[in-house]
C-alpha cells in the first residue's frame, strides 16, 4: 500500500509525536507514505471562514499534486482531512465548482480522481483482522475511550466514518489491539476546538464533561485521531482540575501511538514526553 502523505501544519509542529507515530505505525505495517512535495496549508478555519472558493482551492492544490503522482491522500489531522475531503466531495458533485477551482489553480488541474483518507480509513483498508494478526504486544489492561471528535464524522454525507452518531471503527481497532474499548456516549462531542484561544472557559467545561463521562464509563485513557482534540484534553487537565476541583490524570493518546506500541514499537520511541499527562505509568500495565 502506498499513499501520498499530507502532514499539515499540526503534525510538523504541535503534534510532532502524531507525525512520528503515524510513520512508525505505517513502517511496521509496510504502508508507504510519500509526503506531498511542496505541500501548502489545508486552509482550515481561516480560509473557510473567509471565502468558500478559497477554502476549496487551497486544499485542491495539495490534492492535485498527489493526483499527478496517482496516489490517494492520507491526512492524519482531522481538520486537514475534512478540508481535503470537502473539496474532493464538492468538485466531484458540482461541475461548476470544479471549473472555478481549476481556474484558481491556474497551471495545475484537479480532477478529484484520487481519494482522501483519514488515518482510520488507512487502518480499515489495511484490514482490522490483518492488523490484529500483526499485534506483538497486546494492549491488555488499557480501557480505552475512543474519542472521534467532530471533524472526522460530520457532516455524514462527506465523511467516510461508519456512523456519525455512534462510530465504532476506532473501538474495533482498539479491540483488535487487545485493549478494552469502553462504550461511552461522548465519542463525538465537541472538545472546543480553536475556542481554546478565544474563549478558554468553554473549552475547560467541555473538556471537563468529556473527561468525567470517560471516567464514569471506566476508561483509563482516551484515544483520538485529532491533533486539536488531543491538546485540548491533554494540556488543560491541570486548569480543569483547579477550576472544578477535580483530579483528572487521564492520558490522551493519538491512535497511531497505541497502534505502533501494539505492533512492537517501544513506548520510549513514541515521543510521549510531549504529553503533559504522563502515560508511562499506565503503559506499564501492558
Amino acid at each position: 500500500m502506498k499513499y501520498a502523505y499530507f502532514p499539515g501544519c499540526s503534525l510538523h509542529s504541535m503534534a510532532a509525536e502524531y507525525d512520528h507515530s503515524v510513520l512508525e505505525m505505517c513502517g511496521r505495517l509496510g504502508i508507504e507514505m510519500n509526503e506531498i512535495p511542496d505541500w501548502n496549508c489545508c486552509g482550515a478555519s481561516s480560509a473557510h471562514s473567509t471565502n468558500h472558493l478559497l477554502s476549496l482551492a487551497i486544499p485542491a492544490r495539495n490534492l492535485s499534486i498527489a493526483e499527478e503522482q496517482g496516489l490517494d491522500v492520507v491526512a492524519p489531522c482531522a481538520a486537514c482531512y475534512q478540508r481535503l475531503v470537502t473539496v474532493q466531495h464538492e468538485t466531484r458533485h458540482d461541475v461548476k465548482i470544479k471549473e472555478k477551482v481549476n481556474k484558481v489553480l491556474g497551471d495545475r488541474s484537479y480532477e478529484a480522481k484520487n481519494d482522501v483518507k483519514s488515518i482510520l480509513d488507512v487502518l480499515v483498508d489495511y484490514g482490522i483482522d490483518n492488523l490484529a494478526a500483526k499485534v506483538e504486544k497486546p494492549l491488555q489492561g488499557l480501557k480505552v475511550a475512543s474519542y472521534y471528535g467532530c471533524y472526522l464524522v460530520k457532516p455524514p454525507k462527506i465523511c467516510h466514518v461508519d456512523d456519525a452518531e455512534n462510530p465504532m471503527i476506532m473501538d474495533k481497532i482498539m479491540t483488535a489491539l487487545g485493549a478494552e474499548a469502553v462504550q461511552w456516549p461522548y465519542k463525538t462531542e465537541c472538545c472546543g476546538g480553536s475556542l481554546l484561544l478565544s474563549n478558554p472557559d468553554i473549552v475547560l467545561k467541555l473538556g471537563r464533561d468529556i473527561l468525567q463521562v470517560a471516567t464514569d464509563a471506566g476508561a483509563n485513557c482516551i484515544v483520538t485521531p485529532c491533533p486539536l482534540c488531543q491538546p485540548n484534553l491533554d494540556t488543560r487537565q491541570g486548569q480543569i482540575n483547579s477550576k472544578y476541583g477535580t483530579d483528572y490524570k487521564m492520558p490522551i493518546f493519538y491512535i497511531s501511538q497505541l497502534v505502533a506500541i501494539a505492533l512492537g514499537s517501544h513506548k520510549n520511541n513514541m515521543k510521549l514526553h510531549k504529553h503533559l499527562i504522563d502515560p508511562t505509568e499506565l503503559l506499564k500495565v501492558i
Binding site: D163, E165, P185, D216
Partner: protein, 460 residues
C-alpha cells in the same frame, strides 16, 4: 367490529390474506388464504381456559414485547371473533410434537393440530382497502436517540400499552428497564416525520394530539411528575383540538420548541440534550423515560397488496387516491376504494369519515344496474393491431387483454389475437397508446390525428 360480525349480510374473514384479485369493477374474483388457526371456530366458545393453561409464553406482539402471551391466544382483549388461535411458530406441539395441553383442557374439543391453510374464492363487486399504518422504525436511523438500544426510550405506541388498563402493567406507567414509575418524562415529536434527511417528508398528523394526551396521562397518573414535550410546531387544527392542547399546557406540560440532538444514559437517568429555540439556549433534561412520537408509515406489505389488487402507491408507499381533493376515497382502479390511514396519515375522526364515505361509494355503485364511466378511454383499431400485447403489460389497471378475432384474408378465414380494452376498467391514462408500436391504440378524444391537428393549429 362486534356489530359487523353479527350483521347477517356481513361475512367476516379474519386471520386471512388476499392472495389474488382478478376481474374488474362489479365483477371481482378474490382468492383468499384462510390461515390455519388450529382452533375450530364452530366448536370454540371462547372460554379462554386454554390460554391460562398453555405453558409456553412468548413476547406479545400487541404489547410490543412489553408483556408476554401464551402460544394459544387472542391477539388482543377485544378481538373479533373473541376466540383464540395457535401460534404455529412457537407452539411446542406443532414444533416438537410434545405438549398438547390446550387440547386436553378444552371442554369442547375445539383444538385441532391437523388444521391446514385453506383457500376461499369469493366474488365481490367492490373492494375497500383499509390496511392501516405501521410506525417508523427510528432505531435504524436515529443514532442520536440511541438506535433503540436505550430501554427507556420508547415509542408512543409503547406508551399507549403502558397507560392502558388491559396492558402489560395494568395501566400503571412503569418504565421498561426496571419497572420504576418515571417522574420525569420527555416526549419528542416529529421523530421520522418532517425529516427529509433521516425519515419522511410528511407530517404524520396525529402525533401532536396523542402526545398532548400522553403528557396529560403522565401528569394525571403520576404524582409530582413532570412532562416535557419537544416540538417543531404544534399542529392542532380540528374541532376542539387546540383546546385539548391548551388543556395539556394548563395542566403543566412543558412545551419546548426545538429538536433533541442527543439522548444518552447517565446512571439511571436519560440525559436529553436539545435546544429551546424560543429562549435560544441549549437545554438538558434528566429524564426517567423518553417517548418518541414516531412517524406513521404504510403497513408492512402494503405495496404487495396494492400490486395484487392493482392500483398505485405514492413515493412513500401510501395508496394513491384518484384525486387528492375531489376523489379522495377512490383509487384510479374502478371499484377499489380507500379508507383510513392506508391512504395517508390520519387520526380517528378522519378515518371514520373516510371509511363511511367509502362505504357509501360502494352502496352507490352496487345499487345501480348500469354504470356511467369516463368516455375518454382507449380503443383498439383491430385492423392495425398485431396482437403483440405490449399494451397489456403497461396497463396499470389490468384493462387490456388479448382476444381472438376471425377474419377473411386471401380467400381463407384466419384467426388472430388482437388487444381488447375493458371499457369498465380503462381509466384513459393513455399509457397503452404510447406503448403501441403499430399505432393501433388511441385514446377517444385524444387520437393521434386529433393531437396532430391541434399541433398544426397551434404552430402553423
Amino acid at each position: 367490529m362486534v356489530v359487523a360480525a353479527q350483521h347477517p349480510n356481513i361475512t367476516l374473514l379474519t386471520y386471512a390474506e388476499v392472495e389474488e384479485v382478478s376481474g374488474y369493477i362489479g365483477n371481482f374474483e378474490v382468492k383468499i388464504k384462510q390461515k390455519a388457526r388450529y382452533v375450530d371456530m364452530k366448536k370454540c366458545t371462547g372460554c379462554g381456559l386454554c390460554e391460562t393453561k398453555c405453558p409456553t409464553k412468548v413476547a406479545s406482539e400487541y404489547d410490543l414485547g412489553l408483556g408476554k402471551r401464551p402460544c394459544i391466544y387472542k391477539p388482543f382483549p377485544q378481538a373479533v371473533p373473541n376466540k383464540p388461535i395457535i401460534d404455529a411458530v412457537n407452539c411446542k406441539k406443532l414444533v416438537e410434537g410434545k405438549c398438547g395441553v390446550c387440547a386436553k383442557v378444552c371442554p369442547t374439543g375445539a383444538v385441532n393440530f391437523e388444521d391446514k391453510d385453506e383457500y376461499i374464492t369469493e366474488k365481490v363487486g367492490a373492494i375497500v382497502m383499509a390496511t392501516g399504518f405501521d410506525l417508523f422504525d427510528y432505531s435504524k436511523t436515529y443514532g442520536e436517540y440511541g438506535y433503540g438500544e436505550l430501554p427507556d426510550v420508547i415509542s408512543g405506541l409503547h406508551f399507549e400499552r403502558l397507560a392502558n388498563a388491559s396492558g402489560p402493567t395494568g395501566g400503571k406507567i412503569k418504565r421498561p428497564s426496571d419497572h420504576k414509575i418515571p417522574e420525569t418524562v420527555v416526549f419528542i415529536k416529529c421523530v421520522g416525520s418532517r425529516d427529509d434527511v433521516k425519515g419522511k417528508t410528511y407530517c404524520s398528523k396525529a402525533c401532536c394530539m396523542y402526545t398532548a394526551k400522553h403528557a396529560m396521562q403522565v401528569l394525571e397518573k403520576i404524582p409530582n411528575s413532570q412532562a416535557y414535550v419537544f416540538y417543531m410546531d404544534v399542529r392542532t387544527p380540528g374541532k376542539m383540538y387546540d383546546e385539548f392542547y391548551n388543556r395539556a399546557l394548563n395542566q403543566g406540560a412543558q412545551y419546548l420548541r426545538g429538536r433533541v440532538s442527543k439522548i444518552f444514559q447517565q446512571g439511571d437517568k436519560l440525559i436529553v440534550r436539545g435546544e429551546d429555540t424560543i429562549i435560544g439556549q441549549q437545554i438538558e433534561v434528566a429524564a426517567d423515560m423518553v417517548v418518541l412520537a414516531t412517524a406513521m408509515i404504510p403497513t408492512h406489505g402494503s405495496d404487495k397488496i396494492a400490486q395484487v389488487v392493482g392500483f398505485s402507491t405514492d413515493k412513500d408507499g401510501w395508496f394513491t387516491e384518484a384525486h387528492p381533493k375531489l376523489r379522495p376515497v377512490e383509487t384510479n382502479t374502478g371499484g377499489v376504494y380507500l379508507s383510513g390511514s392506508c391512504q395517508g396519515p390520519k387520526d380517528v375522526p378522519d378515518t371514520v369519515a373516510q371509511a363511511s364515505a367509502a362505504a357509501i361509494k360502494v352502496v352507490a355503485l352496487l345499487s345501480k344496474d348500469q354504470m356511467a364511466t369516463n368516455p375518454r378511454i382507449s380503443v383498439v383499431d383491430e385492423a392495425k393491431c398485431h396482437g403483440c400485447l405490449v399494451c397489456k403489460g403497461v396497463c396499470p389497471y389490468k384493462a387490456i387483454d388479448g382476444k381472438v378475432v376471425s377474419e377473411r384474408a386471401h380467400g381463407h378465414t384466419i384467426e388472430r389475437t388482437v388487444a381488447s380494452v375493458n371499457t369498465g376498467l380503462c381509466q384513459g391514462c393513455g399509457a397503452c397508446t404510447v406503448a403501441c408500436r403499430s399505432g393501433a391504440l388511441n385514446l377517444k378524444g385524444f387520437t393521434d390525428e386529433q393531437i396532430l391537428a391541434e399541433v398544426d393549429a397551434a404552430c402553423l
